[in-house]
Symmetry: C2
Subunit: 334 residues, 2 copies
């Protein structure tokens, strides 16, 4: 049983996409799970009425929590302090108060990070949370982190990303003893920038299943010189550049192929494995709780998948496992 708070006002297509995504998720999830739609009550109810397709049974698993304020997409992260009654803050406060188990938003990413750190707080020993994104590959999907929360990272921070990313790969992707790769510019340990080389040395001693360096070409492949990848660690600058690049390449190719007369539907279907909406949201790892970040452009389908990830995170007790993993590492074990 998981209670998922959803930011009904977050994202480019709010409240339509979140509300529709919530209904789709409830229809597919086990009946013990509920969704809390957080936002301007009137807008949410108007949207529910407009959709009008939900059964009473579904409606019973849907609660509306009023939050009069909205944090806009272009506001600074610090805006959360001035808007305690925004959907972002109200939704996360439910969790901090024990009235909800997870929070999902397609709103302002910086604000969601700030609000999550403020209300959920970080696990001891962490300085910053990391955004863990699922990259579709030719093999199994790979967890890449950090994909944008931290731009200048120390080697110690990158090792912590590896630890929390490994728990995510275990709990959400079901990988046992996840294989960790360090993104660099050559497979040899001596290749890379200063921080990467330091990180390599620390990862060797970390007790994690560290394979070694992987390269840009190994990401779409899902495998590197040393074996198949479950987790890839990099700083949030590189991770964000690669993520946005990846998201843009597939649509570009689809347009080029369609221009030559191929059926767009056939192409999309062949490349569906690469569709990021399939994987929904990216959890903010390191906060004491569950906070899932969705793309601003999220469709109902992406929101639905993010809610499912939130349920998995709650049911697998991912957050407890992250806490324990970090405690163990602080005491010298893996």
């Amino acid at each position: 049983m998981a209670r998922i708070a959803l930011d009904a006002m977050g994202g480019d297509h709010a409240p339509q996409a979140p509300v529709a995504g919530a209904l789709d998720a409830l229809a597919e999830l086990d009946a013990s799970h509920t969704v809390q739609l957080v936002g301007q009550r009137a807008s949410i109810e108007a949207e529910l009425d407009r959709l009008g397709r939900s059964s009473d049974t579904l409606r019973k698993r849907l609660e509306t929590v009023d939050a009069p304020d909205v944090i806009e997409m272009n506001e600074k992260p610090t805006a959360v302090r001035g808007k305690p009654n925004s959907s972002m803050m109200v939704g996360l406060r439910l969790q901090a108060d024990g009235k909800s188990d997870a929070f999902v938003s397609a709103g302002n990413t910086g604000a969601q990070m700030a609000a999550s750190m403020l209300l959920l707080r970080l696990h001891p020993g962490l300085k910053r949370p990391a955004i863990a994104t699922i990259f579709p590959t030719a093999k199994l999907p790979v967890v890449v982190l950090d994909s944008g929360a931290n731009v200048d990272c120390s080697a110690e921070e990158l090792v912590q990303f590896a630890r929390v990313g490994a728990v995510y790969a275990e709990d959400i992707l079901g990988r046992s003893n996840p294989a960790v790769g360090l993104l660099s510019i050559g497979e040899e340990p001596e290749k890379g920038n200063t921080v990467t080389k330091e990180t390599h040395a620390l990862l060797v001693e970390s007790g994690l299943n560290f394979l070694g360096n992987c390269e840009g070409r190994d990401l779409p492949a899902g495998t590197c010189h040393y074996g198949d990848l479950d987790v890839v660690v990099c700083d949030g600058f590189v991770g964000n550049v690669i993520l946005k690049f990846y998201e843009a390449v597939a649509p570009l190719m689809i347009r080029m192929l369609a221009k030559e007369g191929m059926q767009e539907q056939t192409i999309r279907s062949a490349l569906r494995q690469l569709d990021y909406s399939e994987h929904g949201g990216a959890p903010l790892l390191g906060v004491k709780g569950v906070s899932i970040i969705c793309h601003g452009r999220s469709s109902p389908r992406a929101i639905k998948n993010a809610i499912k990830i939130a349920v998995q995170a709650v049911e697998s007790r991912m957050n407890d496992h992250i806490g324990r993993r970090l405690e163990r590492s602080a005491s010298g074990a893996a």
Copy 2:
């Protein structure tokens, strides 16, 4: 009239690919241009005999320069000092001695950089050269640098990359007043890591046609929030990761589409604009001369295109323009 020295022993398919690429280039180039095949004479001549398809007219524009040693792909860059008679060193020495105008190799990249710095030397004021790679985009191709020569870069170095990259875009791609973007994780000047933010401030004052920050998604698009891109600046760590990622994504998608029954030939033809062999080699910018780096896996077609880029670099006097641009910037102008 350009004399292009080609490393006949460099790359995964040497000497076959370089020798075939040289003949193909000569067949397409104006008759005033010549190629110097540098390497083990016996191997080169055996390969020329095996191909046997070249006319006497072509052969007259082809000279063989003996170099008994070979630098292997896995040797350290410092190996060049111990192998003064390697094809890499002999080929570059021809240029240093005024007997050749450009050098092209698909061999060991680190060794080519070391040998180029040793024999051609750097323009005054530069600490390191940069590898400038052409990225195919949905619009015009974009010059991305550095794509792997420098992993930890200062803001001053990134600005120098912008200057030499702009000359390359003018002289080789024919862009007037090239538009420069700085790769970051958001379009706003305050987005990015510490070095990127410092670089942004310096580029605004640089006298270059600096557009502002661009993001990962803008690379395949060829355009950013501020306009179409000619040059994108980043450090060699990010540039190398993105380049290798880009090279791997297209083949992955082609395999996925082919698996669903689409004709591989049709797909390749639709995506030919994204084929890196179309763009051949990546010049090492900043050395006093012309040194073109090719992919180790280069096909004859990639070698042919790299030779053509070398000819363009010589004919446009790119190297002189780079020297002058750097002198002007040192004296306070753009």
